[in-house]
Amino acid sequence: MTNWRAAVRKMAALFRRRDLDRQLDDELRFHIERETERNVGAGIPPDEARRRALLEFGGVEQVKEEVRDSERFTWLEWLLQDVRFALRMLRKNPGFTTVAIITLALGIGANTAIFNVVNAVLLNRLPFKDPDRLVVLQEATSSNRGFGISAPNFEDYGRQQTTFADLSMWAQQSVNLTGGERPERVTGSFVSANFFRLLGVEPARGRFFLPGEDRPEAQRVTIISYSTWQTRFGGDPNIIGRQLILNGEPKTVVGILPQNFLRGELILAETDVYLSIRDYPNYKDERAAKNQLVVGRLKPGVSTKAAAADLNVITQRLARDYPDENSGIHIELTPVKELQVESVRPALLILLAAVSLVLLIACANLANLLLARGAARAREIAIRSAIGASRSRIVRQLVSESIVVSLLGGAAGLFLAWWGLEALLKVNPVALPVNPVGLDLRVLLFAVVLSISTGILFGIVPALQLTRTGVAGFLSSGGRSTSGAVQRRIRSAFVVCQIALSVVLLIGAGLLVRSFQSLLSVQPGFRTDNLLTMEYRLPRNIYTTPEKQWGFHRRMLEEVRQVPGVVAAGLIQGLPFSGNGGRIGTWPAEQSTPEKGKEPTALSNLVDPEYFNAVGLPILLGRNFNDHDTSDAPTTVVINQTLARKYWPGQDPIGRELRFPETVVAAAGVNRPARATVIGVVPDTRQFAVKDPFEPQVYFAYAQVTGIFGTLVVRTATDDPMSLSEDVRKAVWKVDKDQPVWKVRTVEMLIERNIAPDRFVMLLMGLFGVLALVLTAVGTYGVISFGVTQRTQEIGVRMALGATPGSILKLVMNGGVLLVGIGGVLGLMGAFAATRAMTTLLFGVSPSDPATFAGVVIVLAMVALFATYLPARRATRVDPMVALRYE
């Protein structure tokens, strides 16, 4: 152990220069003093004594230089020597080197790839000043999380709060851009004038909003994003001062956002244009219009909890002063950082854990490989020891070999990671929050550090093992290692670990596969084939009245139905799986009015009468909307089965009444009626994700409760709905040539987008599982095979004494079975504990699903036993005569 201390000290010498210099100083001073004392004791006067002592010593500075030189020079020299020697050894053993580099490339490459994504998604800082201080504010009730905040409430919060340095409103919506060849839609964000100052960003060009530019009378300006400037406007150098027609109104471009602002988007959609919050179509100066989000910058040193407490005092005041709009409200604060990554964090962490297991398994293989090779190198090691190399020196050189090959494998792995991730994303495109396929310095550093650590990890045990016996031991045993038993146990231990880790990994992968299978088998609730969809939003300043709005919807649908190839066309506000959708509080009329803020909620939607037919939803009870359900007639609604079962279980819901909160303003900015009659029941559909459970849902008719936003749904005769998109668009423009439509896609594409992330994770885990299985099989084969080679003599003796091939087979395989058994049991125990962490990723299958556990055990056992069987069969073919002569 003292040797190790010296080795470590040498490494540390580089960093502890000053400390070591001081120590050397002290040491030499001590020497001179003692020598001086001795001289004084011999009767020489003090001055002379010291002079003689110095003379006797020689040049003190010279000595110091020599010592320092020897330390520094030796360390560097040894490092270079080690590296050169390592490269030479690797070249002399191409077989081992190739296997090692491939194994390491796979292991380190996979880890680097995952870390690349983790780095881009979880670790990178947002391009704002002090992003940890930024939070998003939302109002919520106990039954409905996540309202926006109304403008009057926002004013009150701003005036009365003490914990925030600044607050700003923010809303996002698509914006019509006209005046060009064809009407277009861009993503718009509507913000208060202090928004960018709050975030702490500087414009790349021009300026941001001036204070007060969000007041009604202010000049309307817009700020565009960097990529919009580049791609849509070709990087026009004269863009500042240009006018764009947004939502029908001219706006002057006054500034451009910096290039890296994309990463800071608070929602995953990139914003093309920023406008004043007053331009937000849903903006109302009413307390009930809870349409905006609020971003805030906490004062330094204030915690989120303290801010929430302060704000909730204000909400109580608001609830007291304005009970209609604000009862039961409390404030929810979410740090901006968490918004982006919450959904992907569990999957990424699990992938990171899985890929680390693969690397560990690979390390075990390499360690065993080194131990096996050790027998061949024992002679070389003994000679070096005899020449005088200390054990730590030899160990260090052996570990250097491992590190060098590991770095080479890591370099190959880096390429693999970069190429592999791109390939995987092409096969299974997934919307990751940031483009992860670039190379970051941190990722490079990670790969280097991981390579070195891996080299040390798999190199250290074999190195220590191989240098255990000295020269004497080597000579006396005639070249065979006397610590064979210890080595065999170490190798077996490695294999057991490999098997256990593989079991855990394979069970994880298996669970994800089954989870994905159940995801695929989920019925969305309606016919999803041959459906073309597109969205549009009518500008409020043109379509000012509900009549005009419904007029457009109706005429547009008529035109679209004329297009050849269109089987049916309908309109819905929030199409399932589009990401759109809203909720509304509602309860049966016969029940007493629930407490404000605690109303039960249902999904709420707007449809035209043809919608249900277009998506293949039959009317199960009652009737569909028809021409009688106009804006003059009493409001009618169609509900889904879950709502019917919830409010009127076992009874007929037709004719019953639903009540809605008086002053809630729904997302489209239109007041919902206070009560409505149920006229029909349709089957359940899922609204946001395939994984969602069925929720109660209520449908209103566009003719009665109109809105400016619509999703056109067209069932086409052809299998390729997209081929009709241009004709359908032209039909829309026949009604209004300036009305853009966007998000043209099929429903199948939407569902695919919904499940793509799950498939992505499953594919990766499956890949890791297969990798682990292959590595373990190879490792098991290697160890058993090596054992057979080592025991050739023993086997020969047994056969000479009359043992049958069958008994030899059993002898060898018993060893293998034992390893597989122990590893398997450990793996199962580990899996029970580990899969608990995966619960968030699983759908329709429990983390301790017995079928998966059993399946994996069977597969692994078969593979491992086959890996054992091959060398065992070789053992039975041993010729006793040859074996006995084997030395």
């Binding site: 003292t2 040797n3 201390r5 010296a6 080795a7 040498k10 120590q23 050397l24 002290d26 040491e27 030499l28 001590f30 020497h31 003093e33 003692r34 020598e35 006797e56 010593f57 020689g58 040049g59 003190v60 010279q62 000595v63 020599e66 010592v67 020897s70 330390e71 030796t74 005088g388 200390s390 054990r391 730590s392 020196r393 000295g470």
Partner: protein
């Protein structure tokens, strides 16, 4: 000239190890002992002891730590390590073998 230096260095190393084989000692003490033992025949500047000590320490044959010396001052004490002891035994055996071989040669001639 280079050879003589190597020989000197090797001998110095051995002397240091031999001294420490008896007891742990600081640099000055080792210098005194060597002077005593060689009866001042070996003219080695005391300073050259220290590069040798540090080299031996790096090679792992001796170890060092700071202790209180005989007169309670702090000094750097050196001790022989296990590998150092083994190295010493090997070298001594070699030397004895060499010197006895030389003696034999001298006797027979």
């Amino acid at each position: 000239m280079g050879e003589k230096m190597d020989l000197l260095q090797g001998t110095l190393d051995l002397l240091i190890l031999k001294t420490l084989a008896l007891e742990d000692m600081h640099g000055w003490g080792i210098a005194q002992r060597i002077q005593q033992v060689s009866r001042d025949v070996l003219q080695v500047q005391q300073g050259s002891l220290y590069p040798a000590l540090h080299r031996l320490e790096q090679q792992g044959w001796i170890s060092a730590d700071w202790r209180a010396s005989e007169n309670n001052r702090r000094a750097k004490y050196y001790a022989l390590t296990r590998t150092g002891r083994r190295h010493l035994e090997r070298e001594t055996a070699e030397w004895r073998g060499f010197s006895s071989a030389v003696q034999q040669v001298l006797q027979t001639s």
